[in-house]
């Protein structure tokens, strides 16, 4: 991030699409449509960077994460990790990739095998990938990982159900770190925790990023957490990225009408301000991803839509340096209210997506 000569991004996603078939009939099922969970998503993540992926439930952010991890085989598009397409990897290469790329799940209650002790859960990947064949050293490594994640090493002998949600999430993080990965997908990693624990885990993730030079894809719906943790944020709506920019830029100066609506939906903690605040939710409901609207998917709910929005699918345009918007109607017009353009220069390493 500091003046290193340009390297290929650690992760690059190009035209990623995941369509789940919807079929009908019992014996001779035929395809009657597809849920377009992800429909043409492009972005890239630099080494050491944290990209936030936000959007409401059902917008395809988790599916995007699962495709990157290759837990799901995408319908189209490619995912390049360190310049190599993971979709074309053979078994052995994929196993090697698993060591470099890890995941932290949302629900700390179901992401740990209830029949295994915490120590075994963390030690298993180390054993399977023959990182440390010596059982005693492996136990030491487990204790070390537990300590790194802020847990008492004695927890190694416990079962997950004997721990609290926050503690279990730390175990999940320790497991993800066990193979010394470079890249971690945090799939709503703090959403299931209560606020005080959430803050601790976010701080832990930040701490680990600095310590081990990690790169995160942080999938979340909690915007305040995203702003705190991420350098760059991408907003998804109905399987597409509608806006992507540096974190502060996006929050202070959202350009896409959907992003504006999303940000205005965040309640203000002060009830007096909240009562007086003007909030215009976008009209209507999120359309079904089985049959998404033509053209720009947001046009039926968009306050600034014009007729041509129905036919033309807007591509991501770089309206301001590093600020990409998929809308053919907005220009730079909604002038930044709080800050001026100087903030664009804040992070020179931000590149186009």
């Amino acid at each position: 991030m500091n003046g290193v000569p340009p390297q290929p991004p650690l992760l690059e996603v190009r035209g990623l699409a995941m369509h789940f078939p919807v079929s009908e009939g019992v014996l001779f099922s035929r395809r009657i449509g597809a849920v377009k969970a992800v429909d043409g998503v492009d972005f890239s993540i630099e080494r050491g960077e944290t990209l936030g992926l936000v959007g409401e439930s059902g917008c395809g952010k988790t599916t995007t994460g699962r495709c990157i991890l290759r837990l799901e085989k995408p319908t189209a598009g490619e995912v390049l990790f360190d310049g190599r397409d993971i979709g074309r990897m053979e078994r052995e290469e994929l196993t090697a990739l698993r060591r470099r790329m890890q995941v932290i799940f949302q629900d700390p209650y179901s992401s740990l095998n209830p029949r295994m002790k915490v120590g075994d859960i963390i030690a298993e990947p180390i054993k399977v990938h023959s990182v440390q064949p010596n059982a005693r050293r492996r136990r030491e490594r487990v204790r070390e990982l537990l300590a790194v994640c802020g847990l008492d090493p004695k927890f190694a002998d416990r079962y997950p159900h004997e721990m609290s949600g926050g503690q279990r999430q730390r175990v999940g993080i320790a497991r993800a770190l066990a193979l010394d990965p470079e890249f971690i997908v945090c799939d709503e990693a703090v959403s299931a925790l209560d606020v005080s624990i959430q803050a601790q885990v976010v701080n832990l993730l930040e701490d680990l990023r600095g310590r081990f030079g990690l790169t995160y894809l942080f999938i979340a719906h909690d915007l305040s957490v995203v702003r705190h943790l991420c350098q760059r944020v991408a907003v998804m709506y109905l399987g597409r990225i509608v806006e992507m920019a540096a974190s502060d830029e996006l929050f202070d100066n959202p350009l896409h009408p959907y992003t504006q609506a999303l940000l205005s939906a965040v309640p203000v903690p002060d009830p007096r301000i909240e009562a007086r605040r003007e909030f215009r939710p976008p009209k209507g409901e999120v359309p079904s991803p089985i049959n998404p609207p033509s053209g720009c998917v947001f046009h039926p709910r968009c306050p600034i839509a014009v007729e041509s929005c129905q036919d033309r699918r807007p591509a991501l345009r770089e309206l301001r340096p590093g600020h990409w918007v998929a809308c053919s109607e907005v220009s730079c017009h909604p002038e930044p209210q709080a800050r001026d353009l100087s903030m664009n220069a804040k992070d020179p390493s931000l590149r186009s997506g």
């Binding site: 837990l71 890890q102 995941v103 799940f105 179901s110 095998n113 004997e162 497991r175 005080s196 601790q200």
Partner: protein, 303 residues
């Protein structure tokens, strides 16, 4: 609890061993006896049968296969506790050794069939797709036949004898287990720890055996207890039909066949006692299985 206290608990949790109430095996056993009197009754029958089968050589007063033509069809007496059959063989001794046959056939068939169903059922749920589809249709075919009919067909192909009877009972049992295990495994498959295992690059075999199988064990154990009863009954039926264990090996079904047809009125004890043995054993195993299910179900467990 205040937020501060909770935070502290999350960061530096005191690991207290004493605070956790650990129930000893005796406590659990006593609770089972108190809550499940019928199940306890079943358990006692199963235990009696187990000991009898294991210690048959010491318990039986006579050789179960030795004919004594000077003592044919004798009514129960102090010498022959349950009488003798048409060959002069001591019925009590044959019952005792018959318990061993029933145990061997019943438990082997139930265990082999159960584990086959367990592994294949979990694998079917895990892999999904065409493997699941084909495997489930094969199970459909096997399950279309009533247990005893399919067992008869298998014996007709392989021939009689203890090993073949075990195979014949295993084949109709395993699809029943495979189907039920698959249903539980489908639910387990969607739980994120399976995804986590995949993301960690574990092999399919490891995920199926280490991560999914241990989590479908509860329904499986209950199924297994039901299977033992069914297998014993199937063995008795096959033997009764003359297609199971062959004379002179003592087996309850066989004794029933020899006794019931010709001597039902003249020497009823020849048929009544093996019939009672079959009934009591199957009843005992069923009662115990039911009680086990209730005891293992956390929703039915108070406290």
């Amino acid at each position: 609890m205040t937020i501060v206290a909770r935070e502290r608990a999350a960061v530096s949790p005191p690991v207290e061993e004493g605070a956790e109430r650990k129930r000893s095996v005796l406590d659990v056993g006593w609770q089972f006896v108190r809550r499940q009197p019928l199940g306890t009754f079943g358990l006692v029958i199963v235990l009696i049968m187990f000991t009898t089968g294991c210690l048959a050589d010491w318990i039986a007063p006579f050789d179960p296969e030795e004919n004594d033509f000077s003592a044919m069809m004798q009514a129960p007496s102090w010498v022959h506790l349950l009488g003798t059959d048409q060959m002069g063989r001591d019925i009590f001794s044959r019952l005792v050794f018959g318990a061993r046959t029933a145990l061997i056939v019943g438990f082997t068939a139930a265990l082999v069939g159960g584990f086959l169903g367990l592994v294949l059922g979990v694998a079917s749920a895990y892999f999904g797709g065409w493997f699941d589809l084909v495997f489930q249709r094969v199970l459909d075919v096997l399950m279309a036949f009533p247990l005893i009919i399919l067992a008869l067909a298998v014996v007709a192909v392989f021939g009689t004898g203890v090993i073949n009877v075990i195979i014949a009972i295993t084949i109709p049992l395993f699809p029943r287990c495979g189907r039920i295990v698959r249903a539980s495994a489908l639910a387990v498959r969607e739980i994120p720890y399976v995804d986590a295992a995949r993301a960690l690059g574990f092999s399919h075999a490891r995920i199926v055996l280490r991560h999914m199988m241990p989590n479908v064990l509860a329904p499986f154990l209950i199924l297994l207890s039901a299977f033992v009863g069914q297998a014993i009954l199937a063995e008795a039926s096959l033997s009764y039909l003359g297609l199971g264990v062959q004379e002179p090996v003592p087996a309850w079904g066989l004794m029933l066949q020899g006794g019931a047809e010709e001597y039902a009125t003249t020497a009823p004890w020849i048929a009544v006692f093996p019939g009672l043995a079959i009934m009591l054993t199957v009843l005992g195993i069923s009662l115990f299985g039911d009680a086990l299910r209730d005891a293992l179900d956390p929703k039915l467990r108070t406290r």
